[in-house]
């Protein structure tokens, strides 16, 4: 089934011949498709209208002001362009903190996801009866947005990177756990059976029988997640705790006068994200194509 299909397959043919009933089918399908499209367009239009109405500034009023802020920022940064290399150095520690938050949360989340995924995969689970429980647990972890956990933890643990790490790691467990378990489901069970026959325990079977099979795919997913987590940790910094997001917020709050800092942070963030994107693309392509 390639096309978007509505309703069941053609039933017994009515009409004068196959050609005519085929055309009738096509017409009906087009009509359904058209209705669906019209509903969709109406929903989009109404939605934009509504969103525009509830916005503080209207879309059409704001459109010509869209360039104001970037041009103001860029103009001031251009005047102070001599500062920018120095500012790169100044913000490098915060950038490293942001990257560390992402790396640590991916690492911890990945380790948690490995455990949960193996426990939630049919055929591999330590306690087969409990697989639905672990699955629901992963769903719940995935559903909680990082910001909710982070803001609550900031209240308890104070500022700094730890709340962000915990928040992103919890979310990562859920998100990666699902992907990991999908990979593990396709693993070949023969090595596991072989290991069982020589009396290996569950841990040994998993480490020696399953891990080598799934490692390339798992690492590839984890890299993709790392990329997402870098962005998430920058955003969490802006909303709450440490890292380069927080510096960005401070520089932005200052308003005019610190726009060279804003540009330096924008550039650092942009270059880092593009670099990580490229690197992980490259590594993932190599991992999945089989050469480790």
């Amino acid at each position: 089934m390639v096309d978007v299909a509505f309703g069941p397959e053609p039933g017994p043919k009515r009409g004068n011949g196959p050609g005519e009933s085929y055309l009738a089918m096509v017409r009906r399908k087009r009509m359904y498709g058209g209705i669906l499209l019209a509903v969709f367009v109406a929903m989009m239009a109404a939605g934009f209208q509504l969103a525009d109405g509830r916005n503080a500034g209207g879309f059409w009023d704001g459109l010509h002001r869209l360039g104001d802020f970037p041009s103001e920022v860029l103009a001031e940064a251009w005047r102070n362009r001599a500062n920018i290399p120095g500012l790169f150095w100044q913000f490098l520690p915060s950038l490293i903190e942001t990257l560390n938050i992402a790396a640590l949360s991916t690492l911890l989340g990945g380790l948690g996801a490995m455990m949960l995924a193996l426990l939630a995969t049919r055929g591999l689970a330590r306690w087969p009866r409990l697989t639905p429980l672990f699955r629901r647990l992963m769903d719940a972890l995935r559903a909680v947005p990082e910001i909710v956990v982070a803001l609550v933890l900031i209240f308890i643990l104070g500022g700094g990177p730890i709340p962000a790490v915990i928040a992103i790691a919890l979310h990562t467990v859920g998100a990666l756990g699902k992907l990991f378990s999908e990979v593990a489901e396709n693993a070949d069970l023969k090595p596991v059976e072989g290991l069982t026959s020589v009396g290996a325990g569950w841990g040994q079977r998993m480490v020696l029988g399953v891990l080598p099979q799934v490692a390339p795919n798992w690492v590839s997913y984890a890299l993709l997640r790392f990329e997402i987590n870098v962005r998430a940790s920058a955003i969490l910094g802006f909303v709450g705790s440490g890292g380069i997001g927080y510096d960005l917020k401070l520089a932005m709050q200052w308003g005019g006068g610190k726009y060279d800092q804003v540009v330096a942070i924008f550039l650092l963030l942009f270059l880092t994200i593009v670099a990580i994107d490229r690197l992980s693309d490259h590594v993932r392509a190599r991992l999945v194509k089989g050469r480790v």
């Binding site: 089934m1 390639v2 096309d3 978007v4 299909a5 509505f6 929903m43 989009m44 939605g47 934009f48 509504l50 969103a51 525009d52 509830r54 916005n55 503080a56 500034g57 209207g58 879309f59 704001g62 869209l66 104001d68 802020f69 970037p70 903190e97 560390n100 790396a103 640590l104 690492l107 769903d139 719940a140 559903a143 909680v144 947005p145 990082e146 910001i147 909710v148 803001l151 609550v152 209240f155 308890i156 643990l157 104070g158 700094g160 730890i162 790490v165 962005r231 920058a234 955003i235 802006f238 909303v239 997001g245 960005l248 932005m252 924008f266 963030l269 942009f270 994200i273 593009v274 994107d277």
Partner: protein
């Protein structure tokens, strides 16, 4: 000879494997210890506020009512969470507070009794005795059985008593008692509503055949109105906020898909013959994705102000980069035979795209878009917190006040339910539209 070299090779491989098996955990451990120092995890124990955690958890599941007497004017007020919104009207105090002239008796349950009177106040703790406080010459004089336990905290200006039944604090200006109760306070009706404090059966009877409380409206309508405009929980605003968040995700995701589709055609190598244009579009996608959603959000909120439109546009711009990339990859992987077939009938470029390409890629693209819809609901919460719209804004506001934790719990619950609902909706649509089942 061949065998020897083969076995040498195998041995070398195994050694490398062993090194890897040992090396990876060692590297991870080294990294962890570096981060442990860099993030000052050891200092965390000193910074962590466990009392905050206790406040938070108890607020999640219970609420307290303040009974306060102003010691100068003698005025008594009973208010839930001490807020003006939860103030009991003078004639309708809860049953556990009784007022008799200048004497107020508060029953905290299990024999714990507090009494405010003209001389001061006293608290009878079962199994311990009576704690009496009276002001004398600008100081507080405490009379309590010796030895004095550590849950009584006394100085010349302030006496506070904490028991499992509640808390009691006496200062020169006022005397205050907190009584804790499980559950969320006034969730349906605030105290100014005629329906507050009634049993569910009573309410049902009132809604179905009771006499009109408000002559202008049927009771059921009046109930709905009072719940909707509840001042403590602001149910109406919350419903709108959730709707705004979903709207942001919906508009952003589908807007991005609509924008990205034509651009993806321009960037696909099998469709766009002009190399330079292809390159330009690909770099555009990289740029849109690389400038993070955070930055787009900031720029857009400067132009459009806070609100759902800004959030929707932020999602739209970021995701049109991601969609452009994945869509163009999907377009490059199509089967050329169908396009050729259409071409042989003399179709032009648009017709070839419409009948040869689109039907092939629709399932792939649609499933991508629906996956994003669910994850964008989460992003919309975060973006709402930054630009100021939707449930994200309500959540950050509630957290910043640092006292309405029951509201935080409520919003968290709603967000999780919203994301789960969007997950099911997008899964259902995926099954319905793609596999046709």
């Amino acid at each position: 000879m061949v065998d020897a070299s083969l076995s040498m090779d195998m041995v070398a491989r195994f050694q490398r494997r062993r090194l890897m098996a040992l090396g990876v955990p060692v590297l991870i451990l080294m990294y962890l210890s570096y981060v442990f120092i860099a993030f000052d995890v050891a200092g965390l124990a000193a910074r962590a506020r466990l009392d905050h955690a206790v406040v938070l958890l108890s607020d999640f599941v219970s609420h307290k009512t303040h009974v306060t007497r102003d010691n100068r004017s003698g005025a008594l007020s009973v208010a839930i969470e001490g807020e003006a919104k939860g103030l009991y009207p003078a004639g309708r105090l809860p049953a556990w507070v009784s007022v008799d002239g200048a004497t107020t008796r508060i029953d905290l349950g299990d024999g714990h009794m507090v009494q405010y009177d003209a001389d001061g106040a006293q608290y009878v703790v079962p199994g311990y005795g009576t704690i009496a406080i009276r002001p004398e010459g600008g100081k507080l004089v405490l009379t309590a059985p010796e030895p004095r336990p550590d849950w009584i905290n006394a100085s010349d200006t302030r006496v506070s008593v904490t028991t499992e039944a509640g808390r009691f604090a006496y200062t020169r200006s006022k005397v205050e008692t907190f009584r804790y109760a499980p559950g969320w306070e006034l969730f349906f009706f605030t105290l100014d509503s005629p329906f507050s404090g009634r049993a569910p059966g009573d309410l049902l009877a009132l809604a179905l055949w009771g006499e009109r409380v408000d002559p202008a409206l049927p009771n059921a309508m009046a109930m709905v109105r009072d719940v909707w405009t509840n001042k403590m929980w602001r149910h109406g605003d919350v419903v709108w906020a959730i709707f705004e968040t979903v709207l942001m995700a919906f508009l952003g995701t589908f807007g991005a898909a609509l924008l990205a589709l034509p651009m993806a055609f321009m960037a696909a190598s099998n469709i766009m013959p002009v190399r330079a244009l292809r390159f330009a579009f690909r770099r555009l996608f990289d740029f849109l994705r690389g400038v993070d959603g955070l930055i787009w959000t900031i720029i857009l909120s400067r132009a459009f102000g806070p609100g759902p439109m800004t959030g929707a546009l932020a999602i739209l711009i970021t995701d049109s980069g991601s969609f452009g990339k994945t869509f163009s990859e999907a377009l490059e992987n199509i089967d050329e035979k169908q396009v050729e077939g259409i071409r042989s009938t003399g179709a032009n470029g648009v017709q070839r795209a419409r009948f040869g390409v689109i039907p092939q890629v629709t399932p792939v693209l649609l499933s991508q878009v629906l996956y994003y819809l669910e994850s964008n609901t989460r992003s919309a919460t975060v973006i709402g917190a930054i630009v100021g719209g939707g449930i994200g804004l309500l959540l950050t506001q509630a957290i910043q006040t640092q006292k309405d934790w029951e509201e935080v719990a409520y919003y968290m619950l709603l967000i999780v339910l919203m994301v789960m609902a969007m997950d099911s909706v997008s899964g259902w649509l995926r099954r319905k539209l793609i596999t046709g089942g």
